[in-house]
Amino acid sequence: MTSPTSANNRLVLRLIAVVVGMFGFGFALVPLYDVFCDITGINGKTDNKAAVRTVDEIDKNREITVEFITRTNSGMPWEFRAETQKVLVHPGEVNTVAFYVRNPASSNIIAQAIPSVSPGQAALYLNKTECFCFNQQPLKAGQEAWMPMSFYVDTSLPEDITYFTLQYTLYDVTARATDLMESDNPYLRQPVSGSR
């Protein structure tokens, strides 16, 4: 039989361990949340890396409508629009859509585009082979660019999804990405398909 003091101490230590563990758990929720959303695709988050297309199969029997929405976060002065509001695609087929950006401000600005897919489950089946959203995009004052995004819809897309929306929001990340300040946007002079 141990003395009551050590019984108290033991219990207190265990409870403190729970407290520390739960504090850690609060932070562990951050990666857990991302992993959970990545696996289930319920957050409408698309992969941040270029997809490698392995099969060439194109499902000509299905037609999916992909709609594009562009917006800029508050305080972000750029003009931002997609060359087309929506495209009809067959699952498996690679499409490229160009997005127009212009920096009307008198200062150089670096942007980061964040994608979001609705309905969220569709995010798992949207594969991008190239996207301006993979990198931060600098534009000097007054510059404009057409930025490409190439994607294909996975052929295993569930039957009930026939229409989905891909939204990009542009954020001003100049403050935290100063190393890009002097570099030119890679899409600056490069004409991309569909640009006018």
Partner: protein, 543 residues
């Protein structure tokens, strides 16, 4: 070791050894005199009193902020305060009422009552007890002080959703974060103390299933506290680093996600609302049997229901977030899990009613508050069920219907239970019966005004009035005038309570017996009234 200690049961030495020996000299006398008594005290009764007074002061401060809110909303248009200050009032009102009034009041009751109910001489960790109280005034001075800073205090709602609390908040957010840290540490220390006391310091014969329900509900609450307060601390820390140190936990531009804030917050937030109601269930379960003169119906089912509510509280958090665009299966899951909670809650309400069934009921003041609690808390529970239904929640979300719901469960639920508890145990604490005439005035004024205050909120909410706005459309004007009148009346009614408590603390009134109430049973009713400074230095016999 003094002679007195040797006669104590082994459990008591546990508490005693945690005391420094300098304190031994006044440990076994009455209360020391002067201000330092309160600063240095390690006595559970003193600390309980400190907590209760602190909670009462905070209740009045938070209430004064509610008066500002209701004065602004008396008419449509902006007339008294500017919108930024209005937002600070709604935010700080919520924070103060949750962390400054309801939670410390319950901790105060726990300090006073748990040792007396389980036959322990004091809390297990008396010096930590002192510490967990005395950091609270600093936390709330910081929070209230931030209101006077440039840019104002926190104005993002008590839920401090990112990016409101990160990108768009004033610099005083750092003060908010640190004050929440301190409140959290205080609650965690209080909870650890409660758990250790209940585990290690029960009198011989006080088995788990003989513990009074107030002790049971507090034990479960304490486990909820140590499980979720650290998560809150994590959430505010992330807000702090997002705002000031360039991290992007909640900033989409940096790869974070603002919706994740809501998940983390409500993972804390939903257990938190049960932290504020489970001790209330315990209080009502003590009071109803006394004045029905019957044993509590379904004691074991009460314990299991409390534990079920606590467990379920961890899997329902996203019902606060139905409109964030969750997939349908998640909405269904959280909807049904939430509705499931009404089963153990229904068990409790059923048991209270069954306890009164064919009892010899009398309607003393604590019973009046307990009955008001049962009826009005159930109204709040039913509006909670309405909110749990996902499709209709899209209409109710962020409207005054939600405000009505949580004020029914927190004001006529938690706060009424605290008032019932104060009326029930005050004669035991002071040794004198409180002024019953004043108490009746307090009860009836509060009961009527609180319903004038909160009931019409259901209607304006269903009609579409959003919460947290300083101005509103003209069609809501009539209801809002009624609500404001009810609000002022409820606020003034609490001054009656203040006068009553001050009179009671000055030991005015008729002396009471040790049992105080005819039907009262339990260890705390076997010691003299007023409860001596030290009780159960030798453990009682528990039948």
């Amino acid at each position: 070791m003094t002679k007195a200690t040797e006669t104590l049961m082994p459990e008591h030495t546990a508490a005693h050894d945690n005391l420094s020996h300098e304190h031994d000299d006044h440990e076994h006398h009455g209360a020391p005199k002067g201000l330092m008594r309160w600063v240095l005290t390690t006595n559970h009764k003193d600390i309980g009193t400190l907590y209760l007074w602190f909670a009462f002061i905070m209740f009045l401060v938070g209430g004064a902020m509610a008066m500002v809110i209701r004065a602004e909303l008396f008419q449509p248009g902006l007339q008294i305060v500017d919108p930024n200050f209005f937002n600070q009032m709604t935010t700080v009102h919520g924070l103060i009422m949750v962390f400054g009034a309801v939670m410390p009041a319950f901790t105060g009751l726990a300090n006073w009552l748990i040792p007396m109910m389980i036959g322990a001489p004091d809390m297990a960790l008396p010096r930590m007890n002192n510490w967990s109280f005395w950091i609270l005034p600093f936390a709330f001075s910081m929070l209230l002080g931030s209101l006077f800073m440039e840019g104002g205090g926190p104005a993002f709602g008590w839920t401090f959703y990112a990016p409101l609390s990160t990108t768009y908040s004033s610099d005083s957010t750092a003060l908010f974060v640190f004050s929440v840290h301190i409140m959290g540490i205080s609650s965690i220390m209080g909870a650890i103390n409660v758990i250790v006391t209940i585990f290690n310091m029960r009198a011989p014969g006080m088995t788990w299933m003989k513990m009074p329900l107030f002790v049971w509900t507090w034990l479960i609450t304490a486990f909820l506290l140590i499980a979720v307060m650290p998560v809150l601390a994590g959430a505010v820390t992330m807000v702090l680093t997002d705002k000031f140190f360039g991290t992007s936990f909640f900033d989409a531009a940096g790869g974070g996600d603002p919706v994740m804030f809501q998940h983390i917050f409500w993972f804390f937030g939903h257990p938190e609302v049960y932290i504020m109601i489970l001790p209330a269930f315990g209080i009502i379960s003590q009071i109803v049997p006394t004045f029905a003169r019957k044993r509590l119906f379904g004691y074991a089912s009460m314990v299991y229901a409390t534990a079920s509510i606590a467990l379920l509280s961890f899997i329902v958090w996203a019902h606060h977030m139905f409109t964030t665009g969750m997939p349908v299966f998640a909405e269904m899951f959280f909807m049904f899990a939430t509705m499931l909670i009404s089963v153990p809650t229904g068990v409790k309400v059923f048991n209270w009613v069954a306890t009164m069934w064919r009892g010899s009921m009398t309607f003393e003041i604590p019973m009046l508050f307990a009955l008001a609690f049962i009826v009005l808390f159930t109204i709040g529970g039913l509006s909670g069920l309405m909110l749990a239904i996902t499709p209709v929640d899209f209409q109710y979300h962020d409207t005054y219907f939600v405000v009505a719901h949580f004020h029914y469960v927190l004001v006529t639920g938690a706060v009424f239970s605290i008032m019932a508890a104060v009326y029930y145990w005050l004669p035991k604490w002071t040794g004198k019966m409180f002024n019953i005439t004043l108490a009746k005035w307090h009860f009836w004024c509060s009961l009527i005004s609180v319903n004038v205050l909160f009931f019409p909120m259901h209607f304006v909410g269903l009609a579409g009035m959003p919460r947290r706005i300083p101005d509103y459309s003209l069609q809501f004007a009539d209801y809002n005038q009624w609500i404001s009148i009810g609000g002022f009346a409820f606020g003034l009614s609490q001054l009656i309570f203040l006068v009553l408590v001050i009179k009671a603390c000055r030991k005015e009134g008729e002396p009471v017996t040790s049992q105080v109430w005819e039907g009262a049973e339990g260890l705390e009713w076997e010691i003299p009234s007023p409860a001596p400074y030290h009780t159960f230095e030798t453990p009682p016999k528990v039948k």
